[in-house]
Symmetry: none
Subunit: 170 residues, 2 copies
């Protein structure tokens, strides 16, 4: 009972592992039946364990022949140095510092020019939106947003680790 969500998570991860592709298609209703729970439980699991921040994108359709597609973003980026990106960012970061970090990551080819652009735009946007806030508050938010975005991208490299853990845990 206590590990319903965990079991469902494991099931989905296994399915993902088994697939040739980097995604699985499920039917919420079937899954709910398989685990003998209410359908909305599946949404909970997806929300709490397969978010974009965690490297997944969910697509779905309702109605007849509806489905839920869980896509694992898995471009193979080598290089491990970003393990400490979070540390580099810290609790707060200025726009200027953020730019320098992105420049560095692009040089290391951990992100592309286009990805850097996206992140800069997102940061500027929240900067504008929060221009009335204190400087410190804003820089905390920059740090939060930046971490989420970079972690999302870097999570890809954790794939092998996660897989090993999963196999051991079987």
């Amino acid at each position: 009972m206590r590990n319903l969500s965990h079991n469902i998570e494991q099931y989905i991860l296994n399915r993902l592992d088994g697939e040739e592709e980097n995604f699985v298609s499920l039917r919420r209703k079937d899954l709910a039946e398989m685990f003998e729970c209410v359908p909305s439980q599946i949404n909970y699991v997806l929300r709490s364990r397969f978010s974009p921040e965690q490297g997944y994108i969910i697509e779905s359709r309702r109605g007849e022949h509806g489905y839920i597609k869980i896509v694992k973003i898995s471009c193979v980026t080598p290089e491990e140095k970003v393990e400490h990106t979070s540390d580099l960012i810290g609790k707060s970061i200025s726009l200027h510092e953020a730019s320098r970090l992105l420049e560095y990551l692009e040089d290391r080819e951990l992100i592309t020019q286009r990805e850097r652009l996206l992140i800069e735009i997102a940061l500027r946007h929240s900067s504008r939106i929060w221009e009335d806030e204190t400087n410190n508050r804003r820089e905390e938010m920059f740090a939060d947003l930046l971490k989420r975005m970079l972690k999302g991208l870097m999570l890809i490299k954790d794939e092998k680790k996660t897989r090993r853990e999963r196999i051991i845990s079987l």
Copy 2:
């Protein structure tokens, strides 16, 4: 077997692929018979999968010797792409609609998976930050952020600067 609409869509796409030209001519009635469904089902498929937004134009004629012609539009300049996506987004957009749009852009290879992930994270972030706002206000902000990010991507020059050049330009 997945579903009727999907099968019909695939059939049309195959026909398009097979043709020398960038269009196919069909007869609604024949298709309906082939897939054993009511004729209006064909209209549904065309409406939901071959709209102008998705890069297609439909021409048709009624009466004897009626037909439906599906034309695939291909060449689009970056500027047109920008215009187009801006229109698609509109003044406000829900998270769900945004997701669908990103799905579509990825299918058309206008953005990569990683870029899509970044945008989803940015949207969710501002969603969380602004959860106290009215729904409409939030959806306006989603639209604004989404437009900025997509415009940025569509306009970016694909100049393949080498790492050396980048470093020199610092």
